[in-house]
Symmetry: C2
């Protein structure tokens, strides 16, 4: 089993943190150089025509791309601890929160980064600065919404149980530093949650 990886990129980090939270051994990591466009070269595009990272290659040659699909694979094989929830209602709610954080917070931060950072100009064509800046504002709105949600005493996004939604949120807040999107000092619940996530042993995976 091999994991095509990018050490600092948020989606590969999501998969690695998930594997660490499961207490599983890390697959063999193969580093890709995104700045050098290695993920768009034929060798990798044959594995994943969508050219995204990470990608997990099973011993039978099956390729699983998309970080959440990779997490789902490990969840199905190793159900404990349940990071996608247990039971219909809880699984649906974890999926809902993971998507809210991904389509909201994560996407807004990533679009800001992709459309405003000069180093991304050769990867994000065309860069549309007005779109990047619109996303910067939206990311702030998302941070406020999440802070309000956490405000009634929840340690984690889905309540008492840590889940993949926390990983998605945490890697997003880490990533927000790159395009310099910072939470206002009044968002104390968001800051406390982020600190709890960063203190977990998995966070350095």
């Amino acid at each position: 089993m091999k994991l095509y990886d990018v050490t600092r990129a948020p989606n590969p980090r999501r998969a690695r943190i998930f594997i660490a939270e499961k207490g599983l051994p890390m697959p063999e990591l193969i580093q890709l150089d995104l700045a050098g466009l290695e993920h768009r070269k034929p060798e990798f595009a044959r594995l994943n025509p969508w050219m995204g990272t990470p990608a997990l290659v099973l011993d039978d040659g099956t390729v699983i791309s998309e970080s959440v699909a990779i997490c789902r694979y490990f969840e199905e094989l190793h159900p404990t601890p349940a990071l996608f929830g247990a039971g219909a209602r809880e699984r649906a709610l974890v999926e809902m929160w993971n998507r809210r954080l991904e389509f909201g917070l994560y996407t807004n931060i990533a679009q800001t980064f992709r459309h405003t950072n000069a180093h991304m100009a050769h990867r994000e064509v065309p860069q549309v600065a007005a779109w990047g800046e619109a996303n910067r504002e939206r990311a702030q709105v998302q941070m406020q919404l999440i802070n309000d949600h956490l405000g009634d005493g929840r340690p984690f996004i889905c309540g008492d149980q840590f889940s993949i939604a926390d990983i998605t949120g945490g890697i997003s807040l880490d990533f927000a530093r790159v395009p310099k999107i910072t939470a206002g000092p009044e968002l104390t619940h968001l800051a406390a949650w982020h600190a709890r996530l960063m203190a977990r042993p998995s966070w350095g995976a």
Copy 2:
């Protein structure tokens, strides 16, 4: 059980088609008027602070928003037919394909629509025409990729089994007509797949 619905919007359609494919009775439908911004009024925002549709309200008051989370809820309660796959490998692959079609095809079409349609100017603020047009080109690239994938004889995205990834792809192609994104006539596998989906009894749900 109540489903906050928008008859013609793609994400509520995805949930309704999924429920129909499961052979389940449709929940009571409550229509929201997106053009009238009814989804942003306090009554609905209290149910779903993220203000997206659809939203399922269970009899105990639990609110599940995000169409895929609603689908997951019904999948967990009624596992047959398995529309998210069966077994770790297949579930991971269905999730991968559903995400490829959602982050690629669906998102590109939706962004084109939101940023180029005059009727969306009061909902998508700011509208960024250059971003809309960039997505129009990306949607065409996605259509080509999906056509190539289907080209080796697969009736459905994940092979012989119909899955949620087909629903995501099909509602996306239906939606593409609104911003006038059309597949080139050479994309015969894509067209045949779309025709197969539209012929399913669930498609009018």
